[in-house]
């Protein structure tokens, strides 16, 4: 009898074990997931193929984890051009509430997400290091995660998935709208992979916008960096090439929201 009991226990454990392996290999997002951080960049710097290319990246990453039935949009603004009005990131993402991979709420609505009133802005939304997950449920490495001087270089970041990469392209102001000045804040509306000048040795070119400077505004899902905690509008980049983005700890990832 004792033998039989042990066998039963072993079989039960094996069954459970087998079942869990399947889960471990394919973590599935909560059915409510309608927000994620892209697990990988497109890989051509600030050239995302415009908004359409960025949206398609969101959609394909979502599809790969079984969340493709929703319509996904990238949280990106574009700046006005002759005959073409600006597009505001906040107008592209539906109304919320938005939930992450685990089904945790990021924000109940646009006003909470962006802090549309003084009180909402001071309180802030629920996007943080632990909730700013990719479509695969991964946290995004940031400051203090395996900090290494080489994490300012694409050759290192490319092959080191745990290196600091917490800068999300947004091209937006803190309220989620497009910039209205003459400078580039969107890598030429997400079509440019250029830099103003070759990155100097050490990868430490000038940061931020300026006349003739390809540049993108970024924010942090872990709310750590740039002297402020902005998730969507902390500072600019050193340029728009894939090589220049790690110079401030980004690789060209961005936020995706489902509008339905």
């Amino acid at each position: 009898m004792a033998t039989k009991k042990s066998l039963v226990a072993a079989v039960a454990a094996l069954t459970l074990f087998g079942g869990y392996v399947a889960v471990a290999q394919m973590p599935t997002p909560d059915p409510k997931m309608n927000f994620f951080v892209t697990s990988v960049p497109i890989g051509d710097g600030g050239n995302l193929g415009g908004l359409a290319g960025a949206d398609a990246h969101c959609q394909s990453l979502a599809t790969a984890v079984g969340a493709g039935k929703r319509t996904w949009h990238a949280y990106l603004s574009t700046q006005a051009r002759p005959g073409k009005p600006a597009v505001n990131a906040r107008d592209r993402i539906g109304k919320g509430p938005w939930y992450n991979f685990k089904g945790e709420v990021i924000a109940p609505d646009l006003a909470h997400l962006h802090g549309d009133t003084m009180e909402l802005a001071r309180l802030g939304n629920n996007l943080n290091k632990l909730t700013g997950l990719t479509e695969k449920g991964e946290t995004v490495p940031g400051l203090y995660d395996y900090s290494d001087a080489r994490d300012n270089f694409w050759w290192y970041a490319k092959t080191t998935p745990y290196s600091n990469r917490h800068e999300m392209l947004t091209g937006s102001q803190p309220d989620g709208t497009a910039f209205t000045d003459e400078n580039d804040h969107t890598c030429d509306n997400w079509t440019s992979n250029k830099d103003a000048a070759p990155q100097p040795a050490g990868g430490r070119g000038a940061i931020g916008p300026g006349p003739g400077r390809p540049n993108a505004q970024i924010g942090f899902p872990d709310r750590n960096g740039g002297g402020n905690g902005s998730w969507n509008s902390s500072h600019g980049t050193r340029g728009c090439s894939q090589e220049s983005l790690p110079g401030t700890h980004g690789v060209g990832m961005f936020y995706c929201f489902a509008i339905n």
């Binding site: 471990a24 973590p27 001071r122 745990y162 960096g225």
Partner: protein
């Protein structure tokens, strides 16, 4: 004797299952064969040896979170007791030459006006005791001034300050354990303040009876890790369930508070 091998198989299977549960935690990019973790609390003295310039030091510090509370819940001995605690902790690490005040509000009482935490802490800029991540080697900045710290304009409020988990350090340069860290979690920091850094004006208790109660009452707290209660507030996220030490600990607090040097 016959049962033993089977029992062993069962044990092995259960162990495998357990390790699998651990491995299967979604968590990430950071789990893909990273090097030995540096941990969440890099000691400031251990970094930057090759960077030259000024090392961060307690004397360069004008902000810290108390490494320990006073142990009596919300009874801090009033503002005077809390200030003395800040001063003593600072003095113990060689930063007693500054004048330290606790970031705490008190509510109005008959014949006694309210005190706003933001009016007690000088004008900034404030620095912690850790290495700045960017720029010249120096103590890391918390905030430039009162307006940025509290978000006095809409854009300032939306952007926030440099007060974040790894910057909200104790006088010993330790990071306060927050959500997701090893217990005990001590991230609920007493403030008794509204989000703008001012005292509450209603009749409810938000200050453990102006920091004299270790029993009934409640205190408003912020989160040093900026995580909790579905918001991001460092100084006014939620209310405690009581003022005893046990009540504070039951919701992830320890009776810690922020200290700022006014000079």
């Amino acid at each position: 004797m016959m049962t033993k091998p089977h029992a062993r198989i069962a044990i092995v299977c259960v162990s495998l299952l357990a390790s699998c549960l651990v491995l299967a935690r979604p968590g990430g990019l950071a789990q893909q064969a990273p090097p030995a973790a540096q941990g969440a609390q890099p000691a400031p003295a251990g970094r930057g040896g090759g960077r030259g310039g000024a090392e961060p030091s307690p004397s360069g510090m004008s902000f810290f979170v108390t490494s320990v509370g006073l142990g009596k819940g919300g009874d801090l001995g009033g503002l005077a007791g809390a200030d003395a605690h800040c001063q003593a902790l600072a003095a113990a690490v060689g930063a007693g030459n500054r004048t330290w005040h606790a970031y705490l509000s008190t509510q109005a009482r008959p014949g006694q006006p309210a005190v706003n935490a933001r009016d007690r802490i000088g004008t900034g800029p404030w620095y912690n005791y850790s290495f700045a991540q960017l720029g010249q080697p120096q103590n890391a900045i918390i905030s430039q001034n009162l307006a940025e710290l509290h978000g006095d304009t809409l854009v300032q409020a939306q952007r926030g300050s440099n007060m974040y988990k790894q910057n909200a350090r104790t006088e010993k340069a330790e990071v306060i354990h927050g959500i997701g860290d090893m217990p005990p979690i001590e991230h609920e920091i007493l403030t008794g303040s509204q989000t703008d850094g001012r005292a509450f004006t209603d009749s409810a208790d938000h200050t453990c009876n102006n920091w004299t109660s270790s029993g009934p009452g409640s205190a408003q707290v912020g989160h040093s890790d900026r995580i909790g209660n579905a918001n991001h507030s460092w100084n006014s996220s939620n209310a405690t369930t009581g003022c005893s030490q046990a009540a504070l600990e039951s919701t992830g607090g320890a009776g810690l508070f922020y200290c700022f040097a006014i000079n």
